[in-house]
Amino acid sequence: MKEFTIRVSRFDPDEDKAPHLETYTVKVNEGARVLNVLHAIHDELDPTLSYRYSCSSGQCGSCAVRVNGEPVLACMEEARDGMTIEPLHLDVKKDLVTDLVPRLEQIASLVAKKDTVLPKKADIDAMKPLKDCIECLCCVSVCPAVDVTKFLGPTAMRQEMRLALDPRDSGDRVPDAVRDGLFTCTSCQACWKVCPKEIEIPGKAIEKLRARANKAGLTLPRHLEVAALIKETGRSVPRTAESFLEKAGGTIEPYGPVKATVGFFVGCMYNLRQQQSALDAMEVLRRNGIRVIIPKEQICCGSPLIRTGQLDYVDTLKKRNIETFQSRKIGTVLTMCAGCGSTLKNDYKTPFKVIDINELLTQYGIEPPARLPIKATYHDPCHLLRGQGVRDQPRELIRQVVDLV
């Protein structure tokens, strides 16, 4: 047996104005889960603690809570000393019990066609990955769009896509999805990173539904404008000043010995809006021994089209970009833009390695920078943290310059 001291959020709407954390010390067995700690508190110390559970084996989705801020299934997550257990970020009924039912009721149901149609194996195989959902609502609890719009949330979109794939369903799922907030998803990827079943809702449901919406003429006007601009100029933002590619030379040789050679994929924002940041980055690379090749023929990576379901032109962009770097025999392509990096890594099949600048600079090291006497914090870009899994490297670099808090 081990002794754990943990904190649990307590809230009784009949008595409390706001939730508060209560500290408990309990004895638990080796390998205990979060749920076993809650049982220990309830059984030994305080039977008034309310929490919900049923199957205790990760299959029913009743027991999701936040542990140290992260949504988890209490029955599957290993308990740790010092942890803080709070309810999901949803309406709280009492203590750790959230009001799941109204949100579950918003998830669409299959409406069978009058004549029985049977699915084919291909239909089954397409639907299956979307059917692992246990409706624990972890995804809904972290969705920033749900907080500020009427978006029904990630799993509701998952279900719309699953129904859209089902030949037995008589519903018109794409307009329903649009009505329920399909276009409010920011593609931040938070939902599937907390999903206990790892269902990739943004890529496997939301972008797929948006592609169907595109075929149905339901793409948003602003998104259509961006697509038209990409087709016309190869870029997703209009040119308002001299671009990075126009300013920067073909190859940047380092001042000192060459530690590595990379091709640089600039992306629309650094090319046309944040040129100076990109130029500064080139100088950093130059001082730290990285040779950078900058092919001018590169164009938009296609992310704005892929995210909004406008796929017609995407293959053209991919082909052009891949050929551009491949023809120069570049083995590693460097990105600065989180979105472009995530797209090249996840949506492309590249014959070269793709690396983010934070990964590159921590891999090869940088000359000690001058320290600035400021306290700073860091906001992870969605497509760097969750799209590429790059978390520690930017912090490591920033810590060398400022006091990171």
Binding site: R33, C55, L100, K128
Partner: protein, 544 residues
Amino acid sequence: MLADEVCDCHVLVIGSGGAGVRAAIEASKHGETVLISKTIVGKGGCTPMAEGGYNAVLREQDSCGIHREDTLKGGAYLNNPELVDLLVKESPLRMGDLVKWGAVFDFTEQNELAQRPFGGQRFPRTCYAGDRTGHEMMMTLVERLDSTDVTTLQEYTVIELLKDRDGDAVIGAVALDEKGDLVLLKADSTILATGGGAKIYDISTNSSSGTGDGFAMGYRAGAELIDMEMVQFHPTGAVYPYDARGRLVTEAVRGEGGILKNAKGERFMKKYDPERMELSTRDVVARAIATEIMQGQGTAHGGVYLDVTHLPGEQIETRLPVMLEQFLRFGVDIRTTPMEVAPTAHHVMGGLRITPHGQTTLPGLFACGEVAGGVHGANRLGGNALADTQVFGKRAGEAAGKEGRRRKSVDREQVGAQLGRLAGFCAGNTNPALVKRDLQLAMWQGAGIFRNAGDLEETLATANQLSAVHLRAVSDRNLAECCIVQNMCCTASLVCRSALLRPESRGAHVRTDITQTHDAEHSPFGHTFISLSREGIEPREMQQ
């Protein structure tokens, strides 16, 4: 705690697993139906945890006759043959309903429902959705329920059935809402679909709802139960870490080719059932594993090995994804490391005596699913429980729906008795969680796989003594828990009493203190029966 909320409906369904939801869907065609559940509908009960599959005769090479024979033989010929006939004949039809309503079961390359082999069956007739078959069924049923007029009362705990003032008829139930306030529910017909009660054991696969509420409430209302001694111990439950003990490791693992080995590396099933090996019936495999462990051939964690490392990784990933994920969570990659498993209490074969229409021995009260007895005899075949929920869920729902209106006058005395019971909890002195723990340990010790009269008597005494303690509810929200612990004690005593009534070893029920010369097929005994008014064991003739 005031009985000021009254709900009046045609059919009241208690329980929201596979049987309850199926019953509610059917009943709603005939009149106003209320589905009441102590959990969120779709999340509670054991159906969403059912992994392996659903037995249905679908192929020309298979037949209902063979399925019937397999089921009777697997059930040690204690099953009610009429109920078995219905199970095998209607299971494919009910599977058809599920597919029509959108279930995503695995398909073959020929676009037919895929089937896998399961224990004790001569044909691979177990349909599946990976190893989350029950979850797929539940999702489908809840979606279908959405298109009906059924009213759902979620996270309400039914604490007692209500009976007519002047007769035997059940006319509804008394429930507590999540805050502990009393609610009266009147119904022309009431369906118990409360599932089983394997949570009365320390080591169990069941969800939090497997507390035997339906057995206990049915018994207290005067219904007759049969074969309550027949508790299935699933051969393969997890053994570590301690808090994960008993978690189901699906039979599909063996269906897909998993093999059992003792600590010496011997494939021991050849000693116990050389013909069917790992795919013998659950009673046989569970006893074999328990025997190996008792003889000192168990692993360090007190189990035996269940090995799939010889199977292709892709087969494990696509057919057993839940198993893979669960074991990975506990640090074991089943693609490269054998699992360690031991028996775990899984299913109660006994239950309320029912007719083919799910009618219990009390007017107005129906039962379906695990709470009903007779379908599975002395040992259930893997894959027959999910089929049971659908076949008898529909039958009970339809029969209850077709019942006439009933005059329902609530008996103030019965309501008063419940208020008194609840007031007693508020003044009680014993923590129900501790009573539950004592009961579970006693049942595992004295009424497990191997039984004898002395241990059963002692366990019964413990259950009775625990039934009598003054449970304490520290707040109104804790009242339901006290009622549930009382139901567990009552269910445990029914199991022990019935086990003492059966002087033979049969199926899952093994009496080490009795030597017998007959085999199951030639047993002189039929069902055990137990009710408020009588108890005993039927001779075999009466039951056939």
